[in-house]
Symmetry: C2
Subunit: 320 residues, 2 copies
């Protein structure tokens, strides 16, 4: 959660702690899971998370994928009986330090997206993340929901008492929904219309169905239900650059591409062209120095939880 | 090309033949390529296409990936010195008959997309395709450009003498561009704004840079240049369902999901909820019976080419 807040993924940061705690206290998450590989081949594995915290389950899956990719060149590891694991980019970035690249797919923990033209929310925001190593430049790190916005950002808007922009959500009459506190009455919109619907479906099949995890009507809404086993699925693909040639050569090409993009001609009024992951990196650098901003409302909630649990509260001075 | 037209991918069908012929006659494509694996591991390979027709190069890459995935569970094969290969879905579908799923990525053969906020077309439409096996239901087959539309569809609009809808392209002043004959003066828009830009970039890095193929400023515009080697790159990922459990069980789950989606509640005015690939399948079934419609202009062009080459012309009765 701290890693999430540090890179500005505030929808997946400590804001989620109250919800995780509710689930832990209600018995909806296994505090002492036996996370294990239940089937594997040279380049694949299925990790059964035994309903443990998703962060732990996916971390294990990524470690296994890195180890396998070192031998076979590419590896794919799926999880089942996992849980919400925070920002996708944290896991896609993990292979970078090994001169490997990562692709990550996940089934969201509540369905907010109907099929294109539909009303029933059979799909989630199902994110895709990618981490691509560079040389002297920062790595290219993409982390995107297949919806126009992620549900975590809707929740963050609600926490901060802000309205949503038009285009994030519609209600069941097809009208724009702007109040994040009414999010339960509507659904998210996919990127590129039918394309985003297709992408969300494929990601769900890859991250959920393939590994034996929940998808479609089987997905448990973990915002509403703190007890049922979610059987959340994620999938990580790791590629060892050395299997395709000299990793230094690859990284030089990425550097050149990054510089070509950054220095390319801009539309009138645009101050800077960003590469995916650059803004998160800047936040990480700034927050590492000055601390992570936390809203007063969230701070109060965390301090109340701390009191309940007999833990020292956070310092009020940290509050933004 | 026939397979493309048959499934309604008319932007990649026989409409491309005049362009391929120009390139073949100008020496821009190697008619007798030595397509070979230049490096490999248990689950990966790089196929050097020796500047042959892309259709041949990618077919070889898919065959290798299927063969490797049977052993290791997953395989990734990249191409370099390939060429334009037609619709992405043709290759993503190939593993289906082996109870395997396919993901396909390609670098487009001309840059039409600037980075988000930029003016220089450093990226192409870089498509993603996925083929997921089902049981009794048709497979789920996604084939999408990371732009709102594919450039092939712009060319098809021009051939048919139709205008483009708002949202497909903008000009260098940021204004909507509607005339497909002026396509060279503008650029395509990515899906979901900055998200589509990020996705196009990642697909380009995976399909181009990873395998040692062209990306960014190195991409040759094969609409304008019929001689230079394009060094086109594609990548195919194949997963053997049996490495993750019982393929029959997986396919039952896909069937159930497909039926849940198809029969789910619709927005007012929507007649049917489609699964990705269903419309292509319907066209394939219909055109297999009644033939493929071809515009009079394209028919004339093909017949003129046939005369030039001393080949029998197409029958005029086929013309639509």
């Amino acid at each position: 959660m701290t890693e999430a807040d540090l890179q500005g993924s505030d929808g997946h940061g400590v804001i989620r702690l109250p919800q995780y705690l509710k689930r832990l206290r209600a018995g909806g998450i296994n505090k002492q899971p036996n996370i294990r590989v239940i089937c594997e081949r040279a380049a694949t594995a299925v990790v059964d998370g035994d309903n443990g915290m998703g962060h732990l389950v996916v971390s294990r899956a990524v470690d296994i994928a890195i180890s396998k990719a070192r031998e076979t060149g590419v590896a794919w590891v799926s999880t089942r009986y996992s849980n919400h694991a925070g920002p996708a980019s944290l896991y896609a970035r993990r292979p970078l330090q090994h001169d490997m690249l990562g692709l990550y797919f996940a089934v969201g923990n509540a369905n907010h997206l109907p099929p294109w033209g539909g009303m029933e929310m059979l799909l989630s925001t199902n994110p895709i993340a990618a981490g691509i190593p560079a040389g002297e430049e920062p790595p290219v790190v993409l982390d995107m929901a297949t919806t126009v916005t992620a549900y975590g950002k809707v929740k963050a808007k609600a926490k901060r008492g802000e309205q949503m922009p038009v285009g994030w959500m519609i209600d069941r009459q097809g009208q724009p929904l702007l109040d994040p506190n009414r999010a339960g009455e509507g659904f998210l919109l996919p990127i590129g219309g039918h394309k985003g619907y297709g992408l969300a479906l494929i990601v769900g099949l890859l991250a959920g169905t393939l590994g034996g995890a929940a998808m479609g009507r089987d997905v448990v809404d973990f915002n509403a239900d703190h007890v049922s086993v979610t059987n959340t699925g994620q999938a990580i693909l790791v590629i060892d650059l050395a299997a395709f040639g000299d990793p230094g050569h690859f990284k030089d090409h990425v550097d050149r591409l990054v510089r070509d993009i950054r220095s390319s001609e801009r539309l009138p009024g645009v101050e800077r062209i960003w590469l995916p992951g650059e803004q998160s990196l800047q936040k990480r650098q700034r927050y590492s120095e000055v601390g992570i901003p936390i809203s007063a409302a969230l701070m109060d909630e965390l301090n109340m939880l701390a009191r309940e649990l007999g833990i020292d509260p956070l310092m009020a001075e940290v509050s933004a």
